[in-house]
Point group: C2
Chain length 358, copies 2
DNA sequence: GCTAATCGATAAATCGATTTTTCGTTCTTG
DNA sequence: CAAGAACGAAAAATCGATTTATCGATTAGC
């Protein structure tokens, strides 16, 4: 490609047309791969494109079509590995198909979620991948429905009557966690989570409970959830331990819960797995390098992203039929943070503000 | 806003015009806030907008202006907290000004970085926030220069002759780390890093070295860097320890290096800070809940994002003058992973594949 | 009272592509 | 050899806004 001298204005399709001695319509057809153009003219168009360094303006190109080659992605946050990877994957998949991905963070707010969606509707995006803040019944999905937008719901979602959904099979993963913990001999387990994703959280909870009670009906399962943010969860957990409750294992249904649990263990000077075992939903890179390594449920990010995009483009291409609800299998990584109860001394006792360093 | 019945086609400015009994030009002027419109007509326009639920199509609106209200953001990755927060901040700041942010991940590849940039140029973005994979001298910045694009370079960058730059003051932060480590009595310190960000890494290195040698000229500073990816770093580190080298502290110049160091410590059964101290550049949420908590340099993400956007919009609005090079101050969080050398037994010894669990 | 300046609004051009319509050739075919 | 089909390409309409040029109706000024 030869550097164009005038860097002020980029060459338009008309510049190419006049250089090639044909009309703009012909240029458009050649670039679109239409075969009813004389080979000689096609060659002259290619030459002119090369000489001018011409590239199609996607904005102008999208003007005339109803469905623009833009995909919107709305995630609750970008700061976690899970959603970070998700956006990376989605972006790559959109690009492969010649689409541009516009990603936005709802910052865990349903109000913002709806605003972003309205803005994406303004852009007349071809489709939306929405990871809702709460669940599939929020105002964002309703907005999409009311405006006839096409989209796919992922992550904190189980199934919907209007949109395809793709999420991790958290129930199955939780059942596997239950098998492992019960197998290790745990008889008093605490589950912590946020009620945000209603159906999803319930799936994880029930998946665990059903399996655990099947294996050992005498098992005791306590549950601490918080409706809104993570801070109430922290204080509830503190109260719970403060009351003298001593489960031998904790299963956190979300990453931030795992962090809260770890920090509460720290506060009390408890070590995993001697004093208490810990498993968290959602893996992170650091979990395998800390001491102890933290056991975690790994969500199949790539599969979720790829399946979501497949379904989305099928709908964009006009596929009809009832919405599907996909569940992608997770992997459970058992690491050192899980042991058998009673294998080490339970350091019970009071609240040490400053944990010992050795 | 009243729900429109026909959800097929959204109302255009002409629909509003005919409903209000005026021309499309008048509608455009009213919505742009031009005052030379009879109040009565303006009111009728507002009424029609309300009744039809009309919203401006940003694509069509941008067609006629040279600078479109789109900002491009290119990050090396989305998976880390740092870049995740960065994108969130940039998105919010762009939105505040009525711009749409299109973010893309270069996935640590300079080739991809340039491709993305070319695509953003196709979109005729008003400006670009580029966090280069290597440094300010890469092909991406050259492309921006050659095509007269306006942009700001951030993060792995010190200063440039064409673009404003904003980054963390890593030299000052590294000097502070040096003060703290030397203050604790460390006399043999290992620094690990990637040479990717040439100037930035050198700044961190020299910032540390200069300060450390000033405080204690007899101090020994070893440096292990890898040119390309993180895996060679891991093996170099393994070799280094395998040769019997026993620094009392490690300073990692990047997050992934901190993870590599931790995993090597694990492999050898060394604990922080008894066996070795550790400080890392770049903080992460988990670092304060693990045991021990990991000392880290916190980068001022919000300040970098906000300053970058300020500079960018100043240029978009036509500001001229030589490019500026901003350095935003970091915060150093000393945590339990740093202690004094010799305060605990150095567990020296060989390579234990399986670290002891208690 | 007639021309000139002012005001408000409309018609038309524009942005850069795509798509439909029209048109001029060449090739068939009766 | 003339009428019609087939082909290739140009002209024109379109997408939905913004901006410039134009125009008619008041108002001002002399």
């Amino acid at each position: 490609m030869v550097q164009q001298e005038a860097r002020q204005r980029r060459p338009s399709i008309h510049d190419v047309a006049s250089h090639a001695g044909v009309s703009a319509a012909t240029v458009s057809k050649v670039l679109a791969g239409v075969t009813t153009v004389k080979p000689e003219n096609a060659q002259r168009v290619f030459d002119a494109v090369e000489r001018l360094g011409y590239r199609v303006d996607p904005l102008a190109s999208d003007m005339r079509r109803a469905k623009r080659r833009i995909i919107g992605a709305i995630m609750p946050e970008f700061e976690s590995e899970f959603f970070g990877q998700m956006v990376t994957e989605l972006e790559g998949l959109a690009e492969q198909r010649g689409y541009t991905l516009v990603a936005a963070s709802s910052r865990e707010s349903e109000a913002r979620e709806k605003e972003i969606l309205a803005r994406m509707h303004d852009w007349r995006v071809a489709g939306v991948v929405l990871a809702p803040v709460r669940n599939e019944h929020g105002p964002a999905a309703a907005f999409m429905k009311a405006n006839g937008m096409t989209g796919v719901l992922i992550d904190r979602v189980l199934s919907d009557d209007a949109f395809d959904t793709v999420s991790a099979d958290s129930a199955a993963a939780s059942a596997e966690v239950a098998r492992m913990l019960v197998g290790k001999g745990h008889k008093h387990i605490l589950i912590i989570g946020l009620a945000e994703g209603a159906a999803t959280v319930r799936a994880r909870l029930e998946g665990f409970r059903a399996q655990a009670l099947t294996l050992d009906p005498s098992i005791r399962i306590d549950v601490i959830t918080s409706e809104v943010s993570v801070e109430p969860l922290r204080s509830s957990l503190r109260d719970y331990f403060g009351r003298g409750e001593r489960p031998t294992a904790v299963y956190s249904l979300l990453l931030k819960g795992t962090l809260v649990a770890l920090s509460e263990f720290r506060r009390r000077g408890w070590h995993c797995p001697n004093d208490i075992s810990l498993v968290g939903f959602d893996d992170a890179e650091w979990m395998q390098v800390t001491w102890p390594a933290i056991a975690a449920v790994v969500q199949p990010v790539r599969q979720i992203a790829s399946e979501a995009m497949n379904l989305l483009f099928r709908r964009i291409d006009g596929a009809v039929g009832p919405p599907t609800a996909r569940l992608e299998p997770c992997q459970v990584l058992m690491r050192e943070s899980v042991g058998s109860p009673g294998s080490g001394p339970h350091s019970g006792g009071g609240d040490r503000q400053q944990p010992p360093l050795s």
